[in-house]
């Protein structure tokens, strides 16, 4: 009887530990998901603040670089 009570108590303890572990893991996962949601939401907001809508991107490179040419130009590029 005494040893049976001990086994039962140990089993309940193990089950409790497993339950707490699951709860801890789920709480951790919930934290990660919340962090991701917040990061996406605020990251998107920050991106919108950094550049006006439609203003992002990069400086567009030419299809091909200037080619060497001889003689004078048809037009001059210089400061004005």
């Amino acid at each position: 009887m005494f040893s049976s009570d001990l086994r039962s108590a140990a089993a309940r303890r193990d089950a409790g530990i497993r339950k707490i572990s699951r709860l801890t893991w789920r709480a951790g996962m919930a934290g990660v998901i919340c962090s991701a949601v917040i990061a996406v939401a605020f990251g998107h907001h920050a991106q919108g603040q950094a550049a006006p809508p439609g203003q992002s991107g990069t400086i567009v490179v030419p299809h091909q670089p200037p080619a060497p040419a001889q003689g004078g130009g048809q037009v001059t590029s210089g400061a004005s």
Binding site: A50, A51, P52, P53, G54, Q55, S56, G57, T58, I59, V60, V61, P62, H63, Q64, P65, P66, A67, P68, A69, Q70, G71, G72, G73, Q74, V75, T76, S77, G78, A79, S80
Partner: protein
């Protein structure tokens, strides 16, 4: 590509010289008429020296939100995009800094007048910054905060060159080159050997001025320099390229920077930023894949991303 003869027109606009080239002679007259209409609209939208411009009205609005035209909204958007792409090095809120340096009227008048140290307005520190500009292109509303005053000089000419070139090529069906004070945009089928451009310090220099001749077939090419738009401000010689961090003329290791890009406004954005960034511009331009020619004060030339090497000087016999 076309081998037709190129027709040319030259005229004054925005206080500088414009050149219009077309690959079909009969298109030159209509091209000029279209260009005049477009450029007049841009001038009315964003001239800093016209009391009736939208830019003047916004600068005088003391932070109030104003309705703007679609054209002016596009011009502001282009300036904000340039600022965003250069981390604020090309900043449209340099208006007050330029006034502080004496550039408060048409440049020909500025050049003729040295106000002297006592005549100069107070100098200002860092510019308010491009984030002080609020623009809603959907509702066409704009406002300035932190005392910002716009100057779109860094992007408006180049943007207008892009707009004119695209419009003219589309409506006239020929190859078009538009140069506004040396900011060059091309559109439509180019000549067989491309458009030949002499790259030098001053756009008003002749076709054989010291520099280099290159050929482009599309996009844009722009040159920024600290040597041309200069004036005396008290005891100092200053120029128009403002470093937003100081509110003063940029102190650069480059005399002149030319950049080729997919559009003229992007080329001008990069060439202006390069002057402000100094030595770091070499790595930035190369990393961005932008062909560029950078000239140091002693004439030494550096190039990036496939820009052709300067032709060797002719042998002396």
């Amino acid at each position: 590509m076309t081998t037709a003869a190129i027709a040319r027109d030259t005229f004054e606009v925005f206080g500088t010289t414009a050149v219009l080239l077309v690959t079909a002679a009969q298109a030159l007259g209509p091209a000029r008429a279209l260009a005049d209409r477009e450029l007049a609209a841009v001038d009315l939208a964003c001239s800093r020296f016209r009391p009736d411009s939208e830019l003047t009205a916004l600068n005088e609005a003391a932070g109030d939100r104003r309705t703007v035209s679609p054209l002016f909204a596009d011009l502001i958007a282009a300036a904000l995009r340039a600022a965003a792409l250069t981390d604020g090095d090309v900043d449209p809120t340099c208006g007050q800094a330029l006034v502080g340096l004496g550039y408060d009227r048409d440049f020909a008048q500025v050049k003729a007048i040295n106000p002297g140290p006592a005549g100069l307005p107070a100098r200002f520190g860092p510019v308010p910054g491009w984030r002080s500009v609020e623009l809603d292109q959907a509702t066409l509303r704009a406002a300035l905060s932190n005392g910002a005053r716009l100057d779109l000089g860094a992007t408006a000419k180049a943007w207008a060159a892009d707009r004119c070139a695209a419009l003219l090529a589309d409506q006239l069906g020929c190859g078009v080159l538009v140069s506004l004070g040396g900011d060059i945009a091309v559109a439509g089928p180019p000549p067989a050997d491309g458009w030949r451009v002499r790259v030098t310090d001053d756009h008003a220099a002749g076709p054989d001025a010291p520099g280099q001749t290159v050929a482009i077939a599309g996009g844009g090419l722009a040159t920024s320099s600290t040597t041309v738009r200069t004036w005396a401000a008290g005891e100092h010689q200053v120029h128009h390229i403002i470093d937003p961090a100081t509110g003063q003329s940029a102190r650069s290791c480059w005399r002149t920077v030319s950049v080729a890009a997919g559009t003229c406004v992007d080329a001008n954005t990069a060439s202006t930023a390069a002057i402000i960034r100094g030595e770091a511009a070499l790595g930035w331009l190369a990393g961005s894949g932008l062909p560029a020619r950078l000239v140091r004060p002693d004439g030494t030339v550096e190039t990036t991303a496939g820009w052709p090497r300067d032709e060797p000087p002719a042998a002396v016999s």
